[in-house]
Symmetry: C2
Subunit: 332 residues, 2 copies
Protein backbone atom coordinates (compact mmCIF):
# COMPACT_ATOMS: atom_id res chain seq x y z
CA UNK A 1 0.00 0.00 0.00
CA UNK A 2 2.79 2.37 0.95
CA UNK A 3 4.69 1.41 -2.14
CA UNK A 4 1.62 2.23 -4.18
CA UNK A 5 1.35 5.65 -2.59
CA UNK A 6 4.99 6.33 -3.31
CA UNK A 7 4.56 5.20 -6.87
CA UNK A 8 1.50 7.43 -7.21
CA UNK A 9 3.43 10.38 -5.79
CA UNK A 10 6.25 9.81 -8.29
CA UNK A 11 3.76 9.66 -11.13
CA UNK A 12 2.26 12.94 -10.01
CA UNK A 13 5.69 14.51 -9.74
CA UNK A 14 6.66 13.35 -13.20
CA UNK A 15 3.34 14.66 -14.47
CA UNK A 16 3.96 18.04 -12.90
CA UNK A 17 7.48 18.15 -14.30
CA UNK A 18 6.11 17.40 -17.77
CA UNK A 19 3.43 20.06 -17.38
CA UNK A 20 6.04 22.57 -16.35
CA UNK A 21 8.12 21.64 -19.40
CA UNK A 22 5.10 22.10 -21.63
CA UNK A 23 4.27 25.41 -19.97
CA UNK A 24 7.82 26.55 -20.54
CA UNK A 25 7.68 25.40 -24.16
CA UNK A 26 4.47 27.38 -24.51
CA UNK A 27 6.18 30.55 -23.34
CA UNK A 28 9.40 30.86 -25.28
CA UNK A 29 9.31 34.64 -24.74
CA UNK A 30 8.95 35.06 -20.96
CA UNK A 31 10.12 38.70 -20.96
CA UNK A 32 7.35 39.71 -23.35
CA UNK A 33 3.96 40.83 -22.10
CA UNK A 34 1.07 39.04 -23.72
CA UNK A 35 -0.03 41.33 -26.48
CA UNK A 36 -0.19 41.75 -30.22
CA UNK A 37 3.57 41.86 -30.77
CA UNK A 38 4.29 38.65 -28.90
CA UNK A 39 1.28 36.92 -30.47
CA UNK A 40 2.42 37.95 -33.94
CA UNK A 41 5.90 36.52 -33.43
CA UNK A 42 4.61 33.24 -32.02
CA UNK A 43 1.93 32.85 -34.69
CA UNK A 44 4.48 33.52 -37.44
CA UNK A 45 6.90 30.91 -36.12
CA UNK A 46 4.07 28.40 -35.74
CA UNK A 47 2.85 28.76 -39.31
CA UNK A 48 6.22 28.68 -41.09
CA UNK A 49 7.36 25.61 -39.14
CA UNK A 50 4.21 23.50 -39.50
CA UNK A 51 4.96 20.85 -42.09
CA UNK A 52 2.34 20.52 -44.78
CA UNK A 53 0.77 23.89 -43.91
CA UNK A 54 0.44 26.45 -46.72
CA UNK A 55 2.97 28.81 -45.11
CA UNK A 56 5.54 26.13 -44.30
CA UNK A 57 9.12 27.23 -45.01
CA UNK A 58 11.94 24.65 -45.18
CA UNK A 59 14.60 25.20 -42.49
CA UNK A 60 17.26 26.22 -45.02
CA UNK A 61 15.12 29.20 -46.01
CA UNK A 62 14.32 30.32 -42.48
CA UNK A 63 16.56 33.37 -42.55
CA UNK A 64 15.99 36.07 -39.92
CA UNK A 65 17.90 39.35 -39.95
CA UNK A 66 18.39 41.69 -37.00
CA UNK A 67 19.62 45.24 -36.95
CA UNK A 68 21.94 45.76 -33.97
CA UNK A 69 22.01 49.37 -32.68
CA UNK A 70 18.63 50.14 -31.14
CA UNK A 71 17.30 46.68 -31.96
CA UNK A 72 19.51 44.31 -29.97
CA UNK A 73 21.29 46.85 -27.79
CA UNK A 74 20.85 50.59 -27.16
CA UNK A 75 22.23 53.43 -29.24
CA UNK A 76 22.04 56.24 -26.67
CA UNK A 77 23.50 58.66 -25.76
CA UNK A 78 25.31 57.78 -29.00
CA UNK A 79 26.21 54.67 -31.01
CA UNK A 80 28.37 52.41 -28.85
CA UNK A 81 30.90 52.07 -31.65
CA UNK A 82 31.37 55.83 -31.58
CA UNK A 83 31.96 55.64 -27.82
CA UNK A 84 34.57 52.98 -28.61
CA UNK A 85 36.20 55.30 -31.15
CA UNK A 86 36.28 58.19 -28.65
CA UNK A 87 37.90 55.92 -26.06
CA UNK A 88 40.46 54.88 -28.65
CA UNK A 89 41.32 58.49 -29.49
CA UNK A 90 42.24 59.00 -25.84
CA UNK A 91 44.33 55.84 -25.76
CA UNK A 92 46.13 56.71 -28.99
CA UNK A 93 46.64 60.42 -28.25
CA UNK A 94 50.17 60.06 -26.79
CA UNK A 95 51.30 58.60 -30.12
CA UNK A 96 49.75 61.55 -31.97
CA UNK A 97 50.99 64.84 -30.47
CA UNK A 98 49.68 66.59 -33.58
CA UNK A 99 46.11 65.82 -32.44
CA UNK A 100 46.38 68.47 -29.70
CA UNK A 101 45.93 71.17 -32.35
CA UNK A 102 44.03 69.28 -34.99
CA UNK A 103 40.26 68.94 -35.24
CA UNK A 104 38.26 66.89 -34.58
CA UNK A 105 40.82 65.36 -32.21
CA UNK A 106 41.66 68.56 -30.30
CA UNK A 107 38.04 69.05 -29.22
CA UNK A 108 37.66 65.38 -28.37
CA UNK A 109 40.73 65.37 -26.17
CA UNK A 110 39.32 68.38 -24.30
CA UNK A 111 36.17 66.33 -23.68
CA UNK A 112 34.10 68.33 -26.15
CA UNK A 113 32.42 65.58 -28.16
CA UNK A 114 29.77 67.90 -29.58
CA UNK A 115 32.42 70.31 -30.83
CA UNK A 116 34.37 67.47 -32.41
CA UNK A 117 31.31 66.12 -34.21
CA UNK A 118 30.34 69.61 -35.40
CA UNK A 119 32.67 68.87 -38.30
CA UNK A 120 29.99 66.54 -39.66
CA UNK A 121 30.64 63.43 -41.71
CA UNK A 122 34.20 64.40 -42.46
CA UNK A 123 35.06 64.72 -38.78
CA UNK A 124 33.35 61.41 -38.06
CA UNK A 125 35.22 59.68 -40.88
CA UNK A 126 38.52 61.05 -39.56
CA UNK A 127 37.80 59.73 -36.08
CA UNK A 128 36.73 56.35 -37.42
CA UNK A 129 39.69 55.89 -39.74
CA UNK A 130 42.20 57.01 -37.08
CA UNK A 131 40.83 54.42 -34.67
CA UNK A 132 39.68 51.59 -36.95
CA UNK A 133 42.41 51.40 -39.62
CA UNK A 134 46.16 50.91 -39.66
CA UNK A 135 46.32 47.57 -37.89
CA UNK A 136 45.74 43.94 -38.86
CA UNK A 137 42.30 42.38 -38.59
CA UNK A 138 43.52 40.24 -35.70
CA UNK A 139 44.95 43.23 -33.85
CA UNK A 140 41.69 45.09 -34.29
CA UNK A 141 39.67 42.14 -33.00
CA UNK A 142 41.88 42.08 -29.88
CA UNK A 143 41.40 45.84 -29.36
CA UNK A 144 37.62 45.43 -29.55
CA UNK A 145 37.65 42.43 -27.22
CA UNK A 146 39.71 44.30 -24.64
CA UNK A 147 37.43 47.33 -24.85
CA UNK A 148 34.27 45.26 -24.53
CA UNK A 149 35.75 43.48 -21.50
CA UNK A 150 36.50 46.71 -19.62
CA UNK A 151 34.53 49.71 -20.92
CA UNK A 152 31.41 50.91 -19.12
CA UNK A 153 28.41 52.74 -20.48
CA UNK A 154 28.40 56.44 -19.40
CA UNK A 155 24.84 56.30 -18.04
CA UNK A 156 24.26 52.78 -16.73
CA UNK A 157 27.90 52.14 -15.78
CA UNK A 158 27.33 48.62 -17.07
CA UNK A 159 29.42 46.72 -19.62
CA UNK A 160 28.09 47.36 -23.11
CA UNK A 161 27.59 43.67 -23.77
CA UNK A 162 25.46 43.40 -20.63
CA UNK A 163 23.18 46.07 -22.10
CA UNK A 164 21.47 43.83 -24.58
CA UNK A 165 17.70 43.56 -24.75
CA UNK A 166 16.60 40.44 -22.89
CA UNK A 167 13.35 40.11 -24.93
CA UNK A 168 15.36 40.15 -28.16
CA UNK A 169 17.80 37.53 -26.84
CA UNK A 170 14.70 35.39 -26.30
CA UNK A 171 13.53 36.01 -29.87
CA UNK A 172 16.96 35.05 -31.25
CA UNK A 173 16.99 31.82 -29.22
CA UNK A 174 13.35 31.06 -30.03
CA UNK A 175 13.91 31.43 -33.77
CA UNK A 176 17.05 29.28 -33.68
CA UNK A 177 15.20 26.62 -31.69
CA UNK A 178 12.72 26.61 -34.57
CA UNK A 179 15.32 26.02 -37.26
CA UNK A 180 16.02 29.62 -38.18
CA UNK A 181 19.46 30.94 -39.04
CA UNK A 182 19.83 34.33 -37.34
CA UNK A 183 21.92 37.08 -38.92
CA UNK A 184 22.89 40.54 -37.75
CA UNK A 185 22.58 43.19 -40.47
CA UNK A 186 23.86 46.43 -39.01
CA UNK A 187 25.27 49.77 -40.09
CA UNK A 188 27.87 49.12 -37.42
CA UNK A 189 31.29 47.80 -38.34
CA UNK A 190 31.30 44.13 -39.23
CA UNK A 191 34.67 43.69 -37.49
CA UNK A 192 33.48 45.65 -34.48
CA UNK A 193 30.60 43.25 -33.86
CA UNK A 194 32.16 39.89 -34.70
CA UNK A 195 34.53 39.62 -31.71
CA UNK A 196 31.63 39.43 -29.24
CA UNK A 197 28.44 38.70 -31.25
CA UNK A 198 28.75 34.94 -30.90
CA UNK A 199 29.11 35.01 -27.13
CA UNK A 200 26.49 37.71 -26.55
CA UNK A 201 23.89 36.94 -29.24
CA UNK A 202 24.78 33.41 -30.33
CA UNK A 203 25.42 34.76 -33.82
CA UNK A 204 28.67 33.41 -35.33
CA UNK A 205 31.04 35.68 -37.31
CA UNK A 206 29.88 34.31 -40.66
CA UNK A 207 26.35 35.49 -39.86
CA UNK A 208 27.29 39.08 -39.14
CA UNK A 209 26.76 41.63 -41.93
CA UNK A 210 27.89 45.20 -41.40
CA UNK A 211 29.73 48.22 -42.72
CA UNK A 212 33.38 47.71 -43.54
CA UNK A 213 36.62 49.30 -44.59
CA UNK A 214 38.91 47.71 -47.14
CA UNK A 215 41.58 45.22 -46.12
CA UNK A 216 44.75 44.16 -47.92
CA UNK A 217 46.63 40.86 -47.78
CA UNK A 218 50.26 41.50 -46.82
CA UNK A 219 53.28 39.70 -45.40
CA UNK A 220 54.59 40.98 -42.08
CA UNK A 221 57.46 39.28 -40.25
CA UNK A 222 57.01 36.21 -42.42
CA UNK A 223 53.32 35.91 -41.61
CA UNK A 224 50.36 36.77 -43.85
CA UNK A 225 48.10 39.44 -42.38
CA UNK A 226 45.07 41.41 -43.51
CA UNK A 227 45.78 45.08 -42.96
CA UNK A 228 42.85 47.41 -42.33
CA UNK A 229 43.02 50.37 -44.72
CA UNK A 230 41.60 53.87 -44.16
CA UNK A 231 39.20 53.43 -47.07
CA UNK A 232 35.49 52.70 -46.96
CA UNK A 233 34.42 49.40 -48.47
CA UNK A 234 30.68 49.24 -47.81
CA UNK A 235 28.02 51.08 -45.82
CA UNK A 236 25.37 48.67 -44.60
CA UNK A 237 22.61 51.19 -44.00
CA UNK A 238 19.24 52.06 -45.61
CA UNK A 239 19.30 50.90 -49.26
CA UNK A 240 22.66 49.27 -48.49
CA UNK A 241 21.03 46.69 -46.22
CA UNK A 242 19.32 44.69 -48.98
CA UNK A 243 22.59 44.91 -50.92
CA UNK A 244 24.54 43.59 -47.94
CA UNK A 245 21.96 40.86 -47.35
CA UNK A 246 22.21 39.75 -50.95
CA UNK A 247 26.00 39.83 -50.95
CA UNK A 248 26.41 37.91 -47.69
CA UNK A 249 23.33 35.72 -47.41
CA UNK A 250 22.26 35.35 -51.02
CA UNK A 251 18.64 34.73 -50.23
CA UNK A 252 15.79 36.87 -49.03
CA UNK A 253 15.06 36.75 -45.30
CA UNK A 254 11.58 35.80 -44.14
CA UNK A 255 11.83 37.81 -40.92
CA UNK A 256 13.43 41.20 -40.25
CA UNK A 257 13.82 43.15 -37.02
CA UNK A 258 14.79 46.81 -36.91
CA UNK A 259 14.11 50.02 -35.08
CA UNK A 260 14.82 52.99 -37.33
CA UNK A 261 14.55 54.45 -40.80
CA UNK A 262 17.93 52.87 -41.47
CA UNK A 263 16.11 49.54 -41.47
CA UNK A 264 13.27 50.58 -43.78
CA UNK A 265 14.65 49.06 -46.98
CA UNK A 266 15.61 45.86 -45.15
CA UNK A 267 12.01 45.46 -44.01
CA UNK A 268 10.68 46.34 -47.47
CA UNK A 269 13.02 43.84 -49.10
CA UNK A 270 12.13 41.11 -46.61
CA UNK A 271 8.38 41.55 -46.84
CA UNK A 272 8.29 41.85 -50.64
CA UNK A 273 9.02 38.13 -50.91
CA UNK A 274 6.27 35.58 -51.40
CA UNK A 275 4.75 33.69 -48.49
CA UNK A 276 4.57 34.49 -44.80
CA UNK A 277 6.84 37.30 -43.64
CA UNK A 278 7.51 38.96 -40.32
CA UNK A 279 8.64 42.58 -40.04
CA UNK A 280 9.07 44.09 -36.62
CA UNK A 281 10.14 47.51 -35.41
CA UNK A 282 11.33 48.11 -31.87
CA UNK A 283 9.89 51.44 -30.77
CA UNK A 284 11.86 53.22 -28.05
CA UNK A 285 9.03 54.35 -25.80
CA UNK A 286 10.44 53.78 -22.34
CA UNK A 287 12.21 56.86 -20.99
CA UNK A 288 12.33 55.32 -17.57
CA UNK A 289 13.88 51.95 -18.23
CA UNK A 290 15.72 52.85 -21.47
CA UNK A 291 15.24 55.93 -23.71
CA UNK A 292 12.25 57.37 -25.53
CA UNK A 293 12.76 58.79 -29.03
CA UNK A 294 11.50 58.40 -32.56
CA UNK A 295 10.58 60.87 -35.31
CA UNK A 296 12.94 63.72 -34.47
CA UNK A 297 15.89 61.90 -32.95
CA UNK A 298 19.30 62.46 -34.52
CA UNK A 299 20.22 58.90 -33.53
CA UNK A 300 18.00 56.04 -34.60
CA UNK A 301 15.32 58.22 -36.16
CA UNK A 302 12.09 56.27 -36.65
CA UNK A 303 9.85 58.30 -38.91
CA UNK A 304 9.28 57.04 -42.46
CA UNK A 305 9.40 53.43 -41.32
CA UNK A 306 6.78 54.17 -38.66
CA UNK A 307 4.54 55.66 -41.35
CA UNK A 308 4.85 52.54 -43.48
CA UNK A 309 4.08 50.25 -40.61
CA UNK A 310 0.30 50.52 -40.76
CA UNK A 311 -0.04 50.31 -44.52
CA UNK A 312 2.23 47.29 -44.68
CA UNK A 313 0.99 45.47 -41.59
CA UNK A 314 4.33 45.47 -39.85
CA UNK A 315 4.56 44.91 -36.11
CA UNK A 316 5.58 47.71 -33.77
CA UNK A 317 6.96 46.73 -30.38
CA UNK A 318 6.53 49.31 -27.67
CA UNK A 319 9.41 48.75 -25.29
CA UNK A 320 7.35 50.24 -22.50
CA UNK A 321 4.23 48.16 -23.02
CA UNK A 322 5.49 44.96 -24.63
CA UNK A 323 8.60 44.24 -22.61
CA UNK A 324 8.48 43.05 -18.99
CA UNK A 325 12.14 43.78 -18.67
CA UNK A 326 14.65 45.51 -20.90
CA UNK A 327 18.06 44.22 -19.86
CA UNK A 328 19.13 40.87 -18.43
CA UNK A 329 20.39 42.55 -15.26
CA UNK A 330 17.16 43.93 -13.89
CA UNK A 331 14.25 46.31 -14.07
CA UNK A 332 16.42 48.99 -15.59
Amino acid sequence: MKRRTASFAITVLIGLALLSTVAHAQDPLPSWNDGKAKQTIVAFVAKVTKEGAPDFVPPAERIAVFDNDGTLWPEQPMYFQLLFALDRVKVLAPQHPEWQDKEPFASLLKGDVKGALAGGERALAEILMATHAGMSTEEFAKIVQDWVATAKHPVTKRSYTEMVYQPMLEVLAYLRANGFKTFIVSAGGIEFMRPWAEKVYGVPPEQVVGSSIKTRFEWRDGQPVLMRLPELNFIDEKAGKPVGINEHIGRRPIAAFGNSDGDLEMLQWTTAGKGARLALLVHHTDAEREWAYDRTSAIGRLDKALDETQARGWTVVSMKDDWKRIFPFGAK
Copy 2:
Protein backbone atom coordinates in the same frame (compact mmCIF):
# COMPACT_ATOMS: atom_id res chain seq x y z
CA MET B 1 13.50 -24.32 -31.19
CA LYS B 2 12.46 -22.82 -34.48
CA ARG B 3 11.77 -19.55 -32.75
CA ARG B 4 15.28 -19.61 -31.29
CA THR B 5 16.82 -20.17 -34.69
CA ALA B 6 14.87 -17.25 -36.12
CA SER B 7 15.96 -15.09 -33.23
CA PHE B 8 19.58 -16.12 -33.80
CA ALA B 9 19.29 -15.36 -37.51
CA ILE B 10 17.94 -11.91 -36.74
CA THR B 11 20.79 -11.27 -34.34
CA VAL B 12 23.30 -12.23 -37.00
CA LEU B 13 21.58 -10.04 -39.55
CA ILE B 14 21.62 -7.06 -37.20
CA GLY B 15 25.27 -7.77 -36.47
CA LEU B 16 26.09 -7.84 -40.18
CA ALA B 17 24.17 -4.63 -40.74
CA LEU B 18 26.15 -2.97 -37.96
CA LEU B 19 29.41 -4.28 -39.37
CA SER B 20 28.52 -2.94 -42.78
CA THR B 21 27.73 0.45 -41.22
CA VAL B 22 31.10 0.44 -39.50
CA ALA B 23 32.86 -0.57 -42.71
CA HIS B 24 31.12 2.24 -44.53
CA ALA B 25 32.04 4.70 -41.80
CA GLN B 26 35.62 3.56 -42.16
CA ASP B 27 35.68 4.46 -45.84
CA PRO B 28 34.06 7.85 -46.17
CA LEU B 29 36.02 8.48 -49.37
CA PRO B 30 35.27 5.45 -51.57
CA SER B 31 36.35 7.15 -54.81
CA TRP B 32 39.83 7.80 -53.45
CA ASN B 33 42.63 5.32 -53.87
CA ASP B 34 44.41 4.47 -50.65
CA GLY B 35 47.43 6.70 -50.64
CA LYS B 36 49.02 9.66 -48.98
CA ALA B 37 46.36 12.19 -50.01
CA LYS B 38 43.45 10.17 -48.68
CA GLN B 39 45.32 9.26 -45.52
CA THR B 40 46.18 12.91 -44.90
CA ILE B 41 42.54 13.98 -45.17
CA VAL B 42 41.27 11.21 -42.92
CA ALA B 43 44.02 11.73 -40.33
CA PHE B 44 43.34 15.48 -40.26
CA VAL B 45 39.61 14.99 -39.68
CA ALA B 46 40.30 12.40 -36.99
CA LYS B 47 42.61 14.64 -35.01
CA VAL B 48 40.56 17.85 -35.12
CA THR B 49 37.36 16.04 -34.11
CA LYS B 50 38.76 13.99 -31.22
CA GLU B 51 37.60 15.65 -28.02
CA GLY B 52 40.32 16.22 -25.51
CA ALA B 53 43.08 15.68 -28.08
CA PRO B 54 45.66 18.45 -28.51
CA ASP B 55 44.47 19.27 -32.05
CA PHE B 56 40.76 19.25 -31.22
CA VAL B 57 38.83 22.09 -32.88
CA PRO B 58 35.31 23.00 -31.68
CA PRO B 59 32.67 22.49 -34.41
CA ALA B 60 32.02 26.24 -34.77
CA GLU B 61 35.62 26.73 -35.88
CA ARG B 62 35.68 23.84 -38.35
CA ILE B 63 35.63 26.02 -41.44
CA ALA B 64 36.67 24.46 -44.75
CA VAL B 65 37.00 26.49 -47.94
CA PHE B 66 36.92 25.13 -51.47
CA ASP B 67 37.89 26.80 -54.70
CA ASN B 68 35.40 25.89 -57.43
CA ASP B 69 36.89 25.99 -60.97
CA GLY B 70 39.40 23.16 -61.27
CA THR B 71 38.83 22.05 -57.68
CA LEU B 72 35.17 21.01 -57.58
CA TRP B 73 34.45 21.00 -61.32
CA PRO B 74 36.63 21.38 -64.43
CA GLU B 75 37.80 24.59 -66.03
CA GLN B 76 38.64 23.32 -69.53
CA PRO B 77 38.53 24.13 -72.41
CA MET B 78 37.73 27.39 -70.59
CA TYR B 79 36.01 28.53 -67.39
CA PHE B 80 32.39 27.35 -67.47
CA GLN B 81 31.19 30.82 -66.57
CA LEU B 82 32.85 32.13 -69.71
CA LEU B 83 31.06 29.46 -71.74
CA PHE B 84 27.85 30.70 -70.10
CA ALA B 85 28.70 34.27 -71.12
CA LEU B 86 29.38 33.21 -74.71
CA ASP B 87 26.04 31.40 -74.86
CA ARG B 88 24.36 34.52 -73.50
CA VAL B 89 25.95 36.71 -76.19
CA LYS B 90 24.32 34.51 -78.82
CA VAL B 91 20.94 34.65 -77.05
CA LEU B 92 21.10 38.42 -76.63
CA ALA B 93 22.49 39.22 -80.11
CA PRO B 94 19.08 39.88 -81.76
CA GLN B 95 18.52 42.68 -79.22
CA HIS B 96 21.94 44.15 -80.05
CA PRO B 97 22.28 44.64 -83.83
CA GLU B 98 25.29 46.87 -83.13
CA TRP B 99 27.24 43.82 -81.93
CA GLN B 100 27.58 42.61 -85.55
CA ASP B 101 30.28 45.24 -86.13
CA LYS B 102 31.57 45.72 -82.62
CA GLU B 103 34.36 43.75 -80.98
CA PRO B 104 34.58 41.54 -79.08
CA PHE B 105 30.99 40.62 -79.97
CA ALA B 106 31.46 40.53 -83.76
CA SER B 107 34.15 37.85 -83.52
CA LEU B 108 32.17 35.89 -80.97
CA LEU B 109 29.06 35.84 -83.13
CA LYS B 110 31.18 34.49 -86.00
CA GLY B 111 32.28 31.69 -83.69
CA ASP B 112 35.79 33.09 -83.27
CA VAL B 113 36.24 32.93 -79.48
CA LYS B 114 40.02 33.27 -79.69
CA GLY B 115 39.72 36.42 -81.80
CA ALA B 116 37.19 37.88 -79.38
CA LEU B 117 39.38 37.22 -76.37
CA ALA B 118 42.44 38.66 -78.15
CA GLY B 119 41.19 41.98 -76.82
CA GLY B 120 42.41 40.90 -73.37
CA GLU B 121 40.92 41.94 -70.08
CA ARG B 122 38.94 44.76 -71.63
CA ALA B 123 37.23 42.44 -74.11
CA LEU B 124 36.51 39.96 -71.32
CA ALA B 125 35.05 42.67 -69.11
CA GLU B 126 32.81 43.85 -71.97
CA ILE B 127 31.50 40.33 -72.52
CA LEU B 128 30.93 39.79 -68.81
CA MET B 129 29.16 43.10 -68.22
CA ALA B 130 26.96 42.71 -71.32
CA THR B 131 25.81 39.30 -70.10
CA HIS B 132 25.91 39.62 -66.30
CA ALA B 133 24.56 43.15 -65.67
CA GLY B 134 21.41 45.08 -66.51
CA MET B 135 18.90 42.80 -64.85
CA SER B 136 17.69 42.17 -61.30
CA THR B 137 19.39 39.61 -59.08
CA GLU B 138 16.33 37.38 -59.33
CA GLU B 139 16.26 37.59 -63.11
CA PHE B 140 19.93 36.71 -63.27
CA ALA B 141 19.44 33.71 -60.96
CA LYS B 142 16.70 32.47 -63.28
CA ILE B 143 18.94 32.90 -66.35
CA VAL B 144 21.69 30.87 -64.67
CA GLN B 145 19.26 28.18 -63.55
CA ASP B 146 17.85 27.83 -67.06
CA TRP B 147 21.32 27.65 -68.58
CA VAL B 148 22.53 25.07 -66.07
CA ALA B 149 19.43 22.96 -66.76
CA THR B 150 19.98 22.85 -70.53
CA ALA B 151 23.56 23.70 -71.56
CA LYS B 152 26.02 20.93 -72.42
CA HIS B 153 29.79 20.91 -72.15
CA PRO B 154 31.44 21.15 -75.60
CA VAL B 155 33.68 18.09 -75.04
CA THR B 156 31.77 15.70 -72.78
CA LYS B 157 28.29 16.76 -73.97
CA ARG B 158 27.25 16.42 -70.33
CA SER B 159 25.45 19.00 -68.20
CA TYR B 160 27.95 21.19 -66.43
CA THR B 161 26.55 20.35 -63.02
CA GLU B 162 27.01 16.65 -63.76
CA MET B 163 30.70 17.34 -64.33
CA VAL B 164 31.62 17.69 -60.69
CA TYR B 165 34.43 15.70 -59.14
CA GLN B 166 32.98 12.73 -57.31
CA PRO B 167 35.96 12.46 -54.92
CA MET B 168 35.50 16.08 -53.92
CA LEU B 169 31.75 15.60 -53.36
CA GLU B 170 32.79 12.87 -50.94
CA VAL B 171 35.22 15.21 -49.16
CA LEU B 172 32.50 17.87 -48.82
CA ALA B 173 30.05 15.36 -47.34
CA TYR B 174 32.71 13.78 -45.12
CA LEU B 175 33.71 17.12 -43.64
CA ARG B 176 30.10 18.13 -43.04
CA ALA B 177 29.40 14.77 -41.38
CA ASN B 178 32.26 15.68 -39.04
CA GLY B 179 30.82 19.02 -38.03
CA PHE B 180 32.56 21.21 -40.61
CA LYS B 181 30.91 24.14 -42.33
CA THR B 182 31.91 24.00 -46.00
CA PHE B 183 32.32 27.20 -48.02
CA ILE B 184 33.07 27.84 -51.66
CA VAL B 185 35.66 30.58 -52.22
CA SER B 186 35.96 31.09 -55.94
CA ALA B 187 37.05 33.69 -58.46
CA GLY B 188 33.81 32.82 -60.23
CA GLY B 189 30.76 35.02 -59.84
CA ILE B 190 29.05 34.64 -56.48
CA GLU B 191 25.63 34.98 -58.17
CA PHE B 192 26.62 32.55 -60.91
CA MET B 193 27.33 29.78 -58.38
CA ARG B 194 24.58 30.28 -55.83
CA PRO B 195 21.62 29.16 -57.96
CA TRP B 196 22.96 25.59 -58.16
CA ALA B 197 25.66 25.22 -55.47
CA GLU B 198 23.25 24.00 -52.80
CA LYS B 199 21.77 21.26 -54.97
CA VAL B 200 25.06 20.17 -56.52
CA TYR B 201 27.54 20.62 -53.65
CA GLY B 202 25.29 20.92 -50.60
CA VAL B 203 26.67 24.42 -50.04
CA PRO B 204 23.94 26.98 -49.26
CA PRO B 205 24.00 30.49 -50.79
CA GLU B 206 25.25 32.08 -47.57
CA GLN B 207 28.35 29.88 -47.73
CA VAL B 208 29.35 30.89 -51.25
CA VAL B 209 32.06 33.54 -51.61
CA GLY B 210 32.96 34.80 -55.06
CA SER B 211 33.62 37.73 -57.33
CA SER B 212 30.81 40.22 -57.71
CA ILE B 213 29.53 43.28 -59.49
CA LYS B 214 27.74 46.05 -57.66
CA THR B 215 23.99 45.97 -57.12
CA ARG B 216 21.56 48.80 -56.39
CA PHE B 217 18.27 48.73 -54.49
CA GLU B 218 15.50 50.15 -56.71
CA TRP B 219 11.73 50.14 -57.04
CA ARG B 220 10.32 48.64 -60.23
CA ASP B 221 6.58 48.25 -60.79
CA GLY B 222 5.96 48.82 -57.11
CA GLN B 223 8.37 46.07 -56.07
CA PRO B 224 11.84 46.47 -54.60
CA VAL B 225 14.57 44.88 -56.71
CA LEU B 226 18.35 44.70 -56.66
CA MET B 227 19.62 45.74 -60.07
CA ARG B 228 22.94 44.33 -61.25
CA LEU B 229 25.21 47.17 -62.37
CA PRO B 230 28.04 46.99 -64.93
CA GLU B 231 30.61 47.84 -62.28
CA LEU B 232 33.04 45.53 -60.53
CA ASN B 233 32.56 45.15 -56.80
CA PHE B 234 35.13 42.54 -55.79
CA ILE B 235 37.54 40.07 -57.39
CA ASP B 236 37.85 36.96 -55.26
CA GLU B 237 41.16 35.74 -56.65
CA LYS B 238 44.74 35.42 -55.37
CA ALA B 239 45.28 37.97 -52.56
CA GLY B 240 41.56 38.72 -52.80
CA LYS B 241 40.65 35.29 -51.43
CA PRO B 242 41.80 35.92 -47.85
CA VAL B 243 40.04 39.30 -48.08
CA GLY B 244 36.82 37.62 -49.25
CA ILE B 245 37.13 34.94 -46.57
CA ASN B 246 37.52 37.57 -43.89
CA GLU B 247 34.64 39.66 -45.21
CA HIS B 248 32.20 36.76 -45.53
CA ILE B 249 33.30 34.21 -42.96
CA GLY B 250 35.10 36.35 -40.42
CA ARG B 251 37.32 33.58 -39.16
CA ARG B 252 40.27 31.72 -40.53
CA PRO B 253 39.53 28.35 -42.15
CA ILE B 254 41.33 25.28 -40.86
CA ALA B 255 41.16 23.48 -44.22
CA ALA B 256 41.54 24.83 -47.76
CA PHE B 257 41.23 23.08 -51.10
CA GLY B 258 42.45 24.61 -54.35
CA ASN B 259 44.13 23.75 -57.61
CA SER B 260 45.94 26.77 -59.00
CA ASP B 261 48.10 29.79 -58.23
CA GLY B 262 44.83 31.69 -57.76
CA ASP B 263 44.43 29.72 -54.55
CA LEU B 264 47.95 30.29 -53.20
CA GLU B 265 47.11 33.12 -50.80
CA MET B 266 44.03 31.25 -49.56
CA LEU B 267 46.20 28.27 -48.66
CA GLN B 268 48.84 30.51 -47.10
CA TRP B 269 46.22 32.32 -45.05
CA THR B 270 44.61 29.08 -43.92
CA THR B 271 47.81 27.34 -42.92
CA ALA B 272 49.30 30.36 -41.12
CA GLY B 273 46.77 29.86 -38.31
CA LYS B 274 47.69 28.00 -35.15
CA GLY B 275 46.86 24.33 -34.67
CA ALA B 276 46.23 21.58 -37.19
CA ARG B 277 45.63 22.74 -40.75
CA LEU B 278 44.90 20.99 -44.02
CA ALA B 279 45.91 22.45 -47.38
CA LEU B 280 45.28 20.45 -50.48
CA LEU B 281 45.93 21.11 -54.16
CA VAL B 282 44.16 19.15 -56.88
CA HIS B 283 46.73 18.49 -59.60
CA HIS B 284 45.28 17.96 -63.07
CA THR B 285 47.34 14.98 -64.20
CA ASP B 286 44.80 12.87 -66.04
CA ALA B 287 44.66 13.70 -69.75
CA GLU B 288 42.61 10.60 -70.39
CA ARG B 289 39.77 10.97 -67.89
CA GLU B 290 39.93 14.78 -67.50
CA TRP B 291 42.70 17.19 -68.57
CA ALA B 292 46.40 17.42 -67.78
CA TYR B 293 47.93 20.85 -67.23
CA ASP B 294 49.86 22.82 -64.64
CA ARG B 295 52.82 25.20 -64.84
CA THR B 296 52.29 26.67 -68.30
CA SER B 297 48.52 26.57 -68.65
CA ALA B 298 46.72 29.84 -69.38
CA ILE B 299 43.75 28.50 -67.41
CA GLY B 300 44.24 27.28 -63.87
CA ARG B 301 48.02 27.69 -63.87
CA LEU B 302 49.60 25.72 -61.03
CA ASP B 303 53.18 26.88 -60.70
CA LYS B 304 54.11 28.98 -57.67
CA ALA B 305 51.68 27.09 -55.45
CA LEU B 306 53.21 23.79 -56.57
CA ASP B 307 56.64 25.13 -55.60
CA GLU B 308 55.41 26.04 -52.13
CA THR B 309 53.82 22.66 -51.58
CA GLN B 310 56.91 20.81 -50.48
CA ALA B 311 58.31 23.52 -48.22
CA ARG B 312 54.95 23.97 -46.52
CA GLY B 313 53.90 20.35 -46.30
CA TRP B 314 50.77 20.80 -48.32
CA THR B 315 49.04 17.84 -49.93
CA VAL B 316 49.01 17.38 -53.69
CA VAL B 317 46.29 15.19 -55.15
CA SER B 318 47.13 13.60 -58.45
CA MET B 319 43.81 13.11 -60.19
CA LYS B 320 45.29 10.25 -62.17
CA ASP B 321 46.72 8.34 -59.23
CA ASP B 322 44.56 9.35 -56.29
CA TRP B 323 41.10 9.23 -57.79
CA LYS B 324 39.34 5.98 -58.74
CA ARG B 325 36.81 7.96 -60.68
CA ILE B 326 36.58 11.58 -61.70
CA PHE B 327 32.89 12.23 -62.34
CA PRO B 328 29.77 10.70 -60.83
CA PHE B 329 28.66 9.42 -64.25
CA GLY B 330 31.44 6.94 -64.99
CA ALA B 331 35.02 6.19 -65.81
CA LYS B 332 35.33 9.38 -67.81
